[in-house]
């Protein structure tokens, strides 16, 4: 089993990106199969939604609220022309939060929090032979361990991102009304100005792509861990770095794709 998806060993560094892509694809072919027992899959899915999603609500809400507040304050202090209405603050917060901050920056934060958790959890199972134990029992370990995490993130990340949008806009409003920079009426007018529902669709589509990247890349690096505690740490770091890079790259591609 280990041999089947391990082309990367003894390969020159310059080719590793190709062999690792091959390993990744082979692993995903094992991940995306029908779960062996539906009841166990649902049980694991609920656990993953709790562990990867519900437990991230606090950090997502906190960061979003403060980022929304900072964007609002920055905008308010930089409007020095009398021709620019104060409602521009609400407009700017809404656009930056919905279009980029919530889907991209929060996904990067989740790549760190959730990605390292996935990679270290699966990596530890690998080095303590728990994955071998699953294989010996006849369980498709890749499917059993990674598939529920992928589905959980695809389901819960859009919820987290919508929450993040709300918290960002709320944070902006609290900062404006708290510091008395913009009235609630102006802020809300800005939020409503030229709103297009498509931006939400665009944002959530990006979120789904990013959730897929985080879960599969982290699962891949965890599953491929070989060695001991040091390698688990390295796998966790690689998972976060590679997920983050891919999120940034795909953000550019998807933005171009969806907004043209």
């Amino acid at each position: 089993m280990k041999d089947c998806c391990n082309f990367s060993k003894n390969i020159p560094v310059e080719f590793k990106v190709f062999t690792q892509t091959g390993d990744y694809v082979l692993l995903m072919l094992r991940v995306f199969t029908k779960p062996q027992k539906a009841r166990i899959f649902w049980q694991r899915l609920m656990d993953e939604i709790q562990g990867l999603g519900i437990e991230s609500i606090g950090i997502v809400a906190f960061i979003s609220a403060f980022m929304g507040a900072v964007v609002a304050i920055q905008t308010a202090y930089n409007i020095d022309s009398p021709f620019v209405p104060l409602s521009a603050v609400g407009f700017t917060v809404r656009q930056s939060v919905i279009l980029e901050f919530s889907p991209t920056v929060i996904s990067l934060i989740l790549a760190g929090k959730v990605g390292s958790r996935i990679a270290s959890e699966i990596g530890t199972m690998r080095v303590t032979e728990q994955i071998d134990a699953l294989e010996i029992m006849g369980v498709n370990s890749a499917n059993y361990l990674i598939f529920p995490k992928v589905v959980a993130l695809l389901l819960i990340n859009p919820v987290l991102i919508v929450l993040s949008m709300w918290m960002g806009i709320l944070g902006g409003w609290l900062a404006m009304s708290g510091f008395g920079l913009v009235t609630t009426t102006d802020y809300v007018d800005g939020i409503r100005l030229d709103f297009e529902a498509y931006t939400i669709f665009y944002s959530l589509m990006k979120t789904l792509f990013f959730a897929f990247i985080i879960s599969t890349i982290s699962g891949f690096y965890g599953y491929k861990t070989n060695g001991g505690a040091l390698e688990v740490g390295q796998a966790s770091t690689k998972a976060v770095v590679v997920s983050s890079i891919l999120i940034i790259l795909f953000n550019l591609v998807l933005t171009q794709l969806f907004l043209t």
Partner: protein, 248 residues
């Protein structure tokens, strides 16, 4: 019976197993012994299919494991139980959930039936009232016993034990050895134990295969091993201060 026929395995340039042919009999405790790095763990992993052999065949009671596809192997693996060096218990499950895991995955028993089976196998390995404990709350010996309980929960035909005594004191090691031996005889299992513990060899070694530098160097049993003229095996068997004094 499990047979390895002309098995070769390399990792890059490193030729780990060289043309190994041996058989492991039903109802007996078959031991694979050898120094660290001799290839005994690789041989065991080849036998259970965790590593693919480069050349040769693995036969389970006339079924050629090497030629099986994923589904066929999956079915065969439900007849296999394995005890790993560190126990390999699932950290996030209780003892009960660990032992019940194969039953949940592969049987359609009711919860009561599964619970009865779990309690039966836990009692068989002399563990009671530990159902709700997490693996982290268990001692090394208890972890090994839970792992044995999990390995036998599906009534396996074949039991593999990778260094079952590592990290255990001599007394607990003896208990684990006897438990493996009793279970093997009681249920007529083909058991293969990977070890470098001479106490295990002398107490439960019905059939002993000595691996040296990736080759099958010697084959015998616990009675013949002490009288062998094989130089490398003698160095291995009488390599410790205790055994060399006993020999003198």
């Amino acid at each position: 019976m499990i047979e390895a026929k002309e098995v070769d395995k390399s990792f890059g340039e490193h030729h780990v197993l060289k043309n190994i042919s041996c058989s492991f009999e039903k109802g007996k405790t078959n031991l694979i012994i050898g120094q660290s790095g001799s290839g005994k763990t690789v041989l065991m992993k080849c036998l259970v299919g965790l590593y693919e052999v480069d050349h040769g065949r693995i036969i389970y009671d006339d079924r050629n494991f090497s030629e099986m596809d994923f589904e066929q192997r999956k079915n065969l693996r439900q007849e296999i139980g394995m005890l790993f060096q560190g126990g390999a218990l699932f950290d996030y499950m209780t003892v009960e959930e660990n032992v019940m895991f194969p039953l949940n995955m592969f049987t359609h028993q009711t919860k009561e039936e599964k619970l009865d089976r779990v309690n039966f196998v836990l009692k068989r390995v002399n563990l009671e009232n530990v159902n709700r404990l997490m693996p982290s709350e268990l001692s090394g010996g208890m972890r090994k016993r839970v792992a044995i309980a999990r390995a036998i929960s599906m009534n396996p035909k074949y039991l593999f034990c990778d260094e079952p005594n590592s990290g255990l004191d001599p007394q607990t090691s003896g208990v684990i050895d006897q438990l493996i031996n009793e279970i093997t005889k009681e249920y007529g299992i083909t058991t293969i134990v990977n070890t470098h513990d001479m106490n295990s060899v002398l107490s439960i070694g019905d059939n002993v295969a000595f691996i040296y530098n990736g080759e099958l160097w010697w084959n015998g049993n616990k009675n013949t091993i002490l009288h062998t003229e094989n130089k490398e095996l003698n160095e291995f068997v009488f390599g410790t201060e205790l055994t060399s004094r006993l020999k003198r």
